[in-house]
């Protein structure tokens, strides 16, 4: 039993809008799906393994700064960018680092591979989605749950 009987005109307009919306969302989906490598802002060190000819190619690599790897040698910052699969990339950077670059924290480096060393021209700090005050961390440390540095 149909309680609501849709008027013919209303039905026609509804189908018209549905077609417009479906066409546009399909085209946007296809475009963004085929361009997904270009839309991605950076690659992880693991992705580099499967890429061929990375030498002299302008890239962005993202991951965490490896613990105990951040050093200042001969006027250059030297560190390793590591990802969840423990693959890492050696990076050299000659300018000033952003304030938030720390060991075990997110980073994105932009530059080229020269002789298997990544020479970065731009370094960006990538912070994660966790927010908490220092006092909350101290409390977690007391309870022994904290797993950061």
């Amino acid at each position: 039993m149909r309680i609501i009987k849709l008027n013919n005109q209303i039905k026609k307009r509804f189908i018209f809008l549905l077609i417009i919306f479906a066409c546009f969302s399909t085209s946007v989906f296809l475009i963004s799906y085929s361009l997904k490598d270009q839309i991605a802002y950076f690659v992880e060190p693991t992705d580099l393994k499967s890429m061929n000819s990375i030498e002299n190619k302008y890239l962005r690599v993202g991951g965490l700064v490896k613990k105990n790897s951040l050093k200042f040698l001969d006027g250059n910052w030297v560190f390793e960018v590591i990802d969840q699969n423990q693959n890492s990339v050696n990076v050299v950077f000659s300018k000033t680092l952003p304030n938030l670059v720390e060991e075990n924290k997110g980073i994105i480096v932009e530059g080229k591979f020269i002789d298997n060393i990544f020479v970065a021209e731009i370094v960006l700090a990538k912070h994660d989605e966790n927010y908490m005050p220092q006092s909350a961390i101290d409390k977690l440390k007391e309870e022994g749950i904290w797993r950061g540095n």
Partner: protein, 235 residues
């Protein structure tokens, strides 16, 4: 909602608007008080406090577009003048909200990432959203008859709805410099309760301000139409 005329809705909202603005001012004052006395983030320091204006305006700019799209659909299908007027009064608010998001985000980005702007998926899709708002406003003002303007801009609003999931899920679908969602995410919010409460108070303050602003724009449009009609009838 199809039986409600623009006039009834306008009168209803104007009668409530003084309570809405009082509630909004109260909530915003409480949130400013909370923000000032809130402990800094362990990693970002004081700069994370930009969040309490960035995140509410970002939510609202998406929610306003969703409402605009839905009322455009209702307006087009049922030829409802109320729905068209709702969509018409929402787009300037949405544009201002998205500009605030982009500006505060840019300042925050410079403090934390080390760059004012990058072309990652979240930032670019948010810029597109602001441009769709701008296009909606321009379309509304580029026709002589408001019915034609309503038709054209509603089509734009419906097409623009495709962009909403892209803005929301861009951080999950692609790698971005922008962080993942902290509040509206699987597994609950990733911030402590004092931050979350402050964020919600500040959100509801700005939300009430938006409702107040919306009812004023709606009222002005309705009164202007009434005036134009009476001039036409007197001639």
């Amino acid at each position: 909602m199809f039986a409600i005329t623009p006039n009834t809705l306008s009168n209803f909202m104007i009668s409530l608007s003084r309570y809405v603005i009082l509630l909004s001012l109260a909530l915003i004052s409480v949130s400013i008080f909370l923000i000032i006395f809130l402990e800094n983030d362990y990693y970002q320091g004081i700069s994370f406090k930009i969040m309490f204006i960035h995140v509410p305006t970002a939510w609202l700019s998406l929610a306003i577009f969703l409402l605009m799209g839905i009322s455009s659909i209702i307006g087009l299908i049922f030829k409802s003048p109320t729905a068209f007027t709702v969509a018409r009064s929402l787009s300037p608010i949405g544009l201002i909200m998205s500009i605030i998001v982009l500006v505060t985000g840019s300042i925050w980005g410079n403090l934390t990432w080390g760059a004012y702007w990058v072309w990652d998926a979240r930032l670019t899709s948010m810029l597109i959203l602001a441009f769709i708002y701008l296009g909606h406003i321009l379309l509304l003002h580029s026709f002589e008859h408001f019915q034609k303007a309503d038709f054209a801009s509603s089509i734009l609003a419906i097409i623009g709805l495709v962009n909403l999931p892209i803005v929301k899920f861009s951080v999950d679908w692609w790698t971005t410099l922008h962080q993942e969602s902290s509040v509206l995410r699987m597994g609950g919010p990733s911030m402590t309760n004092d931050y979350l409460i402050t964020l919600l108070v500040s959100f509801f303050g700005i939300f009430m301000l938006t409702i107040f602003w919306f009812s004023n724009i709606f009222y002005i449009i309705v009164e202007k139409r009434k005036m134009e009609r009476s001039i036409l009838l007197n001639d």
